[in-house]
């Protein structure tokens, strides 16, 4: 079938969904409680929760940009980083020292991955690399729990968690901190990618690794650097999620929540990961509160995937993904 036909069908289907939702809302007055203050409270809570998704998605984007590999193990790396940090704090009793050690551990992990997985698989199909990262997921999950234990560990770095009120809207201090951290991280990464020599080389490798090799950019260093950076992003994400809900195995599964974020924002865009995270975070909270009752609730868990599906139909490269350059 032609592309145009698909397009029409998908427009039809989504129109149908929107109309259906509208009808449901009109047919069920009184089931949904609505006030603007409440709306903003939900919206802001959702946006800030979304920054946590963004943090996870960011790790994916970094590796995908630089090596064209979709790193399924990002969630496992997040768990591993958080676990290492928590247990090291228990052992050393010093947050700063533990942070430093965890950074070293993530660098070592990046080195091992480059040496044992990426290097032997150089120039293989992306699907093979993807399969390799699935294998790594299990390995890192298992190794992490073997070394550090598999209980739920509370993580407290002294980030304030108290709620407070602005203009009648209830906010959580922790969410604000998470937002600020995400913003800072993005700013730093943006400067790194756009302005520095290494950042430029990373983008060059992402574009065409053969050509990068030919001008003398050593792929091995670049891969080590990019896996280290995304290991550090995983650490930040792990800290945030761990503080919010304790360091536990389910942390590895948030990687799945990052998938719709990536589809929305585009696999290759750092701002896309952030905005995708915000949209997913806000969208899922708003949907849960204001549309959820019509379906009997609990739509928060799948709403993001429906959103992602719609994006795949209309804008497969995501909001900010690199345009697929085609010259005619």
């Amino acid at each position: 079938m032609s592309q145009a036909a698909w397009r029409n069908i998908s427009i039809g289907v989504s129109g149908f969904i929107v109309l259906g939702l509208g009808a449901l809302v009109i047919a069920n007055p009184g089931k949904i409680f609505f006030s603007w203050t409440f709306f903003f409270e939900v919206l802001i809570g959702g946006l800030l929760a979304g920054t946590l998704y963004s943090l996870v998605a960011l790790g994916f984007v970094l590796i995908f940009k630089a090596s064209g590999v979709f790193n399924f193990a990002q969630g496992a790396m997040t768990l591993f980083a958080a676990l290492s940090l928590v247990r090291l704090i228990e052992i050393t009793n010093s947050i700063l020292l533990s942070m430093a050690l965890t950074v070293v551990i993530m660098m070592a992990l990046a080195y091992v991955i480059e040496r044992l997985v990426l290097r032997p698989l150089v120039n293989q199909d992306v699907i093979i690399m993807f399969m390799a990262t699935i294998g790594m997921t299990f390995l890192i999950d298992g190794f992490g729990q073997l070394v550090w234990g598999s209980d739920v560990y509370p993580l407290n770095l002294g980030i304030p968690q108290d709620p407070f009120e602005v203009q009648g809207v209830l906010l959580n201090q922790f969410d604000l901190v998470a937002g600020a951290v995400a913003a800072l991280l993005v700013a730093v990464l943006a400067v790194f990618f756009q302005k520095t020599r290494i950042g430029r080389a990373l983008r060059a490798v992402a574009d065409d690794n053969q050509a990068a090799l030919s001008v003398g950019i050593p792929l091995r260093h670049i891969w080590f650097i990019v896996w280290t950076v995304s290991g550090l992003v995983a650490l930040v994400a792990g800290i945030m999620w761990g503080t919010k809900s304790g360091v536990q195995f389910s942390l590895a599964l948030i990687a799945l929540k990052a998938l719709p974020v990536l589809i929305l924002g585009g696999l290759t865009s750092i701002p896309g990961a952030i905005i995708g995270g915000l949209i997913v975070g806000a969208g899922e909270k708003l949907a849960e509160v204001f549309i959820g009752p019509l379906f009997g609730g609990a739509i928060e868990n799948w709403f993001a995937y429906v959103l992602a599906l719609l994006f795949l139909l209309f804008r497969p490269q995501g909001l900010f993904g690199e345009k697929i350059i085609e010259r005619v």
Partner: protein
Amino acid sequence: MTQAAPLLSIQNIEVIYDHVILVLKGVSLDVPAGGIVAILGANGAGKSTTLKSISNLLQSERGDVTKGDIRFRGERINGLSPSELVVKGVIQVMEGRHCFPHLTVEENLLAGAYTRTDGAAAIATDIELVYRYFPRLKERRESLTGYISGGEQQMCAIGRALMARPKLILLDEPSMGLAPQLVEEIFEIVKRLNREEGVSFLLAEQNTTMALKYATYGYILENGRVVMDGDAATLRENEDVKEFYLGLSAGGRKSYRDTKHYRRRKRWLA
């Protein structure tokens, strides 16, 4: 060749892909300092493989130099990584341009200077130098190279290689997919770079006419072996080269049947 010490000297190399496919069966060639040397031959003759075995881009394609010596300024360079070779002054411009499509022209040039350690000022000077040779690149400096024309991409790829301050550029099929006029323009610039900047070139070309017009020396490859070599002028006048590669023949027009017959009778290979 009569020069004392060639810049690049390949002795009897053999290349095997995937441990089984023998692609080069004992190729030897020399590039004198300051020369433009052409490797000619049909598709699959081993031209690109020869260049890639020098720049060691072969490694990432599962190819291996299993025999022979590659020497650059007298030093054996077999098995060095591409980035080590770029630092030494050997750089390849790949077939099909291979610019970084989502980087601007200027960022492409800067990426080409990745291995340099002599500071931003020197690099900026060299960007201006590249723009002097390729004024069109200056006009397009802010454009993504994915969107510029094929000729401009080829210029960008050559300019990017220049940014590494190479002594020898391995130029793979620069004429590919370009209009004849543009090919001529690019070869003119190659010649100027050779004369004014002292960069030597080893180029692989299917466009034999153009290559022999600009090169000083040529090697003809067939099935992974050098079957003939000589000064460009000598090769241009050689009857076999005329017949097979330049599409000319002494006896005026011939029918294809005669040509085939002739080819069957006389091969360079035993």
